[in-house]
Amino acid sequence: MGANDAAGLGNVIGQSVPRKEDARFLTGTGQYTDDVSMARQTHAFFLRSPHAHAVIRSIDVVKAKGLPGIVAIFTGADLTGVNGLPCGWLITGTDGKPMNEPPHPVLALGKVRYVGDAVALVIAESIDQAKDAAEQIVVDYDVLPAVVNPVDALKPGAPLIHEQAPGNKCYTWALGDKAAVDAAFAKAAHVTKIDIVNNRLVPNAIEPRAAVASYNRADDAYALYVSNQNPHVERLLMTAFVLGLPEHKVRVIAPDVGGGFGSKIYLYAEETAMVWASKRINRPIKWAAERSESFLTDAHGRDHVTHAELALDNDGKFLALSVQTTANMGAYLSTFASCIPTILYATLLAGQYTTPAIWCEVTASFTNTSPVDAYRGAGRPEATYVVERIVYQAAAEMGLQQDEIRRRNFIRTFPYQTPVALNYDTGNYDQTLDAAMEMADVASFPARKAEAQKHGKLRGLGYAAYIEACGLAPSNVAGALGARAGLFEAGEVRVHPTGSVTVFTGSHSHGQGHETTFAQIVAGRLGIPVDNVSVVHGDTGRVPFGMGTYGSRSLAVGGTAIVKALDKVVAKGRKIAAHLLEAAETDIEFKDGKFTVAGTDRSKTFGEIALTAYVPHHYPLDTLEPGLDETAFYDPTNFTYPAGTHICEVEIDPDTGVVEVVAFTACDDFGNIINPMIVEGQVHGGVAQGLGQALLERCVYDPDSGQLLTGSMMDYALPRADDLPSFKVGTKVTPCTHTPLGAKGCGEAGAIGAPAAMMNAVMDALSTVGITHFDMPASPHRVWSAIRQAHGHA
């Protein structure tokens, strides 16, 4: 009996069912936001600040307004009655005060605070006319000094970005027991210290953000198509907090979305301004970001500066971990910005280890850069990077094998309460480490290293034994930690009279394959073909409610909501069957799509029950409503804890600094798996993004001018096909104990494990030439320079 059978799921669960959504993507018939066109549609262009920090003395739009095709031009001053964009998570500082939360105007008011800050919305008959007119808008700026580095921003004398945030500080926050940590360090046999930078990243979903906003005067109703991961949240924030519109008069549709990776969770200025403007001009408005705008204005990721210390005893057992991090918030607080380097970071610092005492202090600062928010992994890659880099360093310093130091500290008893708030329900970390080592053929690594050496190459092997907290989130826990919303999920299972099913889910798929995986869950539970199930998502006009997709929550939370709705469908079906079969409800069994009277061959198929529900000619109407359509909301009782070991092997050419990722192995425990093919694909993609961070990607702002220096795909290196190897991936299963599917989530694991695994491999290789410190990315010039320096060259 497999794990899935144990969970009571049918055999379609656990199968690599080919994706139902593929056909439209492969034939060019997908519908992304920019593919939506409306009658009488206008086109929007946003005039953006060319300066990182400046006072706006005046904006002159008179000439621009007179140009051909111009429908309207709006600036911040025109948006009367419009509030700023909200932040959804309140962090309370160590001083007991709420974080500094300066206003985030939809269009700049009085000041611009980063290059790309939106200054004016230009609406025209064509996009070219809008761009031509934008060039004729005269903005008189009084340029101010800028600061882009999160540490520099906190120094005395740094340019002040917001009056409401003295010293550019958003908050200083801490988690853990400092006294216990100090006491442990005082008696430690060995202390390892590291200083690391978690490089700033630009998400770069291949579909740029886009929106089409329209207004119907007759109904006083709005429709917004937007490339977004959580349309209900988008609508709630926009209507209730910013525009003051009735929620039921605004329909938000996130159609096919070309990747998100976190960057499309947030309520952005552009679509908000467009919804507002659509009523003013009483015409639809379309906008699609150019890639340059994506670089400038999509919420970026990471950007931490960290000092960490690990205390160990003589046997390499961890006694305590102390972490101090400065995190960049950018110029304004994006939707979830404040919780990423706190709640989703410090809570993960136990990793897979029994470290008894942990203390983490985080200071978040404002800078003249694009807002920073969740990017694939969101806090958990940063935590894993700290833990796994310092564990590597400790092992190297103490002369322990990299697997051995980890084994000496693994958590082996579950449930396990960490000193940083989380309670791990289950796991088996030896199992994934053992399997990963086997898959990566670690045993013969010394031979490969010796062979590389013969050719003058430096070969290194690196581990990352990561953990993540997914399935966001138990709402009461999230609320206690400052979340201003619940983090449950909703699902509706609508059975049609002929027995086919449409599922409406609050999760959103932008590549994850929900249309297939969720159909498998339904098909498995109801015993009907996968083809008889359609999945609808991404439309507030069709789906009851939803908190959307991020934090690897779709299956664990959204999938569970569907299971709960299915339970209601089956329960009602049982009642109907009992009536038809003239049996007691308690005697009715449901299996393989049939309701059967226990111990007999008398049964009704699921289709017969569905038809009876909708054609209730012979039906117990006094005790049972017709119809078979059930909705469920599910609020998880705990986070889920996917974990695993990733092993990376690199070869460095010291003459050129080129780092080749020779092999990458991932062995993950995601709990029960519904569709192995899709899960493997998620790991591949996550690993590629993690390797991108470690190997190539680095978002750079000029420290003096605040200009974005990596503002295009020519300056910012995304991983290409020839930068990466094929990956070795495998899974081990310890089912999640508190979700009916036993699933944990898989979307972020690759991005969480890969950076640490790869950089530990790079350090393993570079240590042979005496390098003990090196920050991501390991791009050729940086590696070559470090090797030169180590050899005594300037």
């Binding site: 593929d22 492969l26 579909e207 890639r291 795909m713 690759g750």
Partner: protein, 157 residues
């Protein structure tokens, strides 16, 4: 000032008057409503806009519509047979899970067909090198490489 142009797109003759600064990709998307060809960047780096021009893969964001007068253009929509049958490369991407969000996919498929046309026996290194001009942020390329190998095997029969 509009310029008249005519070309063959997916086997059909099309003619139109366009603003001379109209890019080929915008002509395909906005005037012919062939929205399967995508725009993912503004520097000819991502390859989402790849189409075939006289049998060769080109980035349609990097050409003016007026530059391809009289040429034969094939887009992702043009790969489908009249009865709806997909091209072997499209089938291979489906079989191998070579796509996730689908946004890069049309360009990736067009490039893949072109590379197989030129290197029928392409090995992994060649496939990876040839696809260097098409960015995918979802798949890590692993399954795309697998799909191209399967597509090539079927195309070679």
């Amino acid at each position: 000032m509009a310029v008249s142009l005519a070309m063959t797109v997916n086997g059909k003759l099309v003619s139109a008057d366009v603003d001379p600064r109209t890019l080929l990709v915008d002509f395909l998307r906005n005037q012919l409503a062939l929205t399967g060809t995508h725009v993912g960047c503004d520097t000819a780096q991502c390859g989402a806009c790849t189409v075939h021009l006289d049998g060769r893969a080109v980035k349609s964001c990097n050409l003016l519509a007026v530059q391809v007068l009289g040429a034969a253009v094939v887009t992702i929509e043009g790969l489908i047979a009249d009865d709806g049958t997909m091209h072997p490369m499209q089938v291979a991407f489906h079989d191998c899970h070579g796509l996730q969000c689908g946004f890069c996919t049309p360009g990736m498929v067009m490039s893949a067909i072109d590379l197989v046309n030129r290197h029928l026996q392409a090995d992994e290194a060649t496939i990876r090198a040839e696809l260097e001009g098409n960015l995918c942020r979802c798949t890590g390329y692993h399954n795309i490489v697998k799909a191209v190998r399967q597509g090539a095997a079927v195309m070679g029969k």
